[in-house]
Amino acid sequence: MGLKEKIITKSLWVYHVSAGSCNNCDIEILDCLTPRFDIERFGMQLVGSVRHADVLLVTGAMNKKSLKRFKRVYEQAPKPCFVVAVGTCPCSQHMFRPSYSMEAPLDEIIPVDVYIPGCPPKPEAIIAGIVKLIEKVTKK
């Protein structure tokens, strides 16, 4: 475990991308910031611009229209940038998979580091997922 990994995992700035979600995961992500869960104590912050992002929290089943945008967002993110699929939708597209406006699950488009299944995952689960991400990064 190098110094670099240690520093990055102590200061994860998350950027939230919603690609055809149902809002549940999105509000649970915001819930992580609020008093009961408060991820700022782990040094995580929600940032407004993708240029500042270290982690992309992706929710939603990735429909065709938002896919184009999402690809651009991903290209704009400075590397190293980790991708976390929040909710069952980006993991497997959930019940929306056969729909005509859906493209593909997230991991067929970009490499995904951590999957957090659940509809919606509880804030505890999201935090646990981020902890998994930290473990993964530091063990590399």
Binding site: K4, I7, I8, K10, S11, W13, T34, P35, D38, E40, R41, G43, V47, G48, S49, R51, H52, D54, Q76, P78, K79, P80
Partner: protein
């Protein structure tokens, strides 16, 4: 020796340690206001260190030179500034007219934030830059008025060390009506300069996504963050030196913490103002107030 002074003590390293800590204090206090725990004390250092590990992207269509130079120049100017201010109260070193140099150096970071925003050629960044310019026109003037008040009260001494020594002898400027007015102007100046709610229109995250900083990432953003950390230390300190210069030494610690507390309270009890409201607040409320303060200072109140 000079290099040591400039970069380690009392220059860069010393200031950034205290600035990062002051910034953390503000974040922690805000978190406590909001029933949160808040970040650990080393958070800002980690954040800045991390940014230097990140990839540097220069957006297409940006003016490369300006885009790269802006954060570095604003960082350099604040570095010089912190050295000047620190040596004034630590060693009593300074020169006649250094407050005016401080004034100029304080304009540079804001100016280069504006230039950096314009250079990144992003509509949101340019909106933020134009807001920052409007804001600068108002808050820099308020700071000048505040400076004039303290200079008048120090019987026309135009040097930081002189002002401190004067207060040491005759008591802090704050304990008079004009002093309170000048101090108030100074607090609002800090608030606007650091881009804290209610005066953070230029980087309003919910409206224009960080304004001038929207396209910055990696080390260049890191330089801006260092600049901000340094400003977090020297701005409250400067106001303390100008208006509460009686007992320094260890007393500086609680005076500085008090300043951060005031900033934090204002931040957490107000929504963001519109740029129009800010301008009218600065020009039609604070500016006449400042004029009254100057008159009172001349009259000796």
């Amino acid at each position: 020796m000079f290099i040591f002074e400039y970069f380690v003590f009392p220059g860069f390293l010393f200031t950034i340690l205290l600035g990062g800590w002051g910034w953390w204090l503000e974040r922690k206090l805000s978190a406590r206001f909001q029933y949160r725990v808040g970040p650990p004390w080393y958070q800002n250092f980690i954040d800045i260190a991390k940014l230097f590990y990140k990839e540097q992207i220069i957006p297409e269509g940006a003016n490369r030179t300006l885009f790269i130079l802006s954060p570095i120049i604003s960082f350099a100017s604040v570095l010089l500034l912190s050295f000047m201010i620190n040596s004034s109260y630590l060693y009593g070193e300074g020169f006649v007219g250094d407050v005016i140099v401080i004034l100029y150096l304080l304009v540079i970071p804001s100016l280069f934030i504006v230039l950096g925003g314009v250079a990144s050629s992003n509509p949101l960044a340019t909106t933020g830059a134009s807001r920052e310019i409007k804001l600068m026109l108002s808050y820099e003037f308020i700071f000048i008025v505040s400076l004039i008040i303290t200079i008048i009260k120090s019987k026309g001494i135009i040097s930081l060390v002189g002002i401190i020594n004067y207060q040491h002898e005759f008591g802090s400027h704050l304990w008079s009506i004009s002093g309170i007015i000048g101090f108030m102007l100074g607090v609002f100046y800090i608030q606007a300069k650091l881009g804290i709610v209610p005066f953070d229109v230029s980087e309003a995250e919910q409206e224009i996504m960080g304004g001038p900083f929207i396209e910055y990432c990696g080390p260049l953003l890191g330089f801006f963050k260092i600049t901000k950390a340094l400003l977090y230390f020297i701005l409250p300190l400067l106001i303390v030196l100008l208006f509460l210069g009686k007992n320094l030494g260890w007393h500086l610690v609680y005076k500085y913490i008090m300043m951060v507390l005031i900033i934090s309270v204002i931040k957490n009890t107000n929504p963001r103002l519109r740029i129009k409201d800010i301008l009218s607040f600065f020009w039609f409320f604070l500016f006449p107030l400042g004029c009254i303060g100057v008159v009172l200072a001349i009259l000796g109140y």
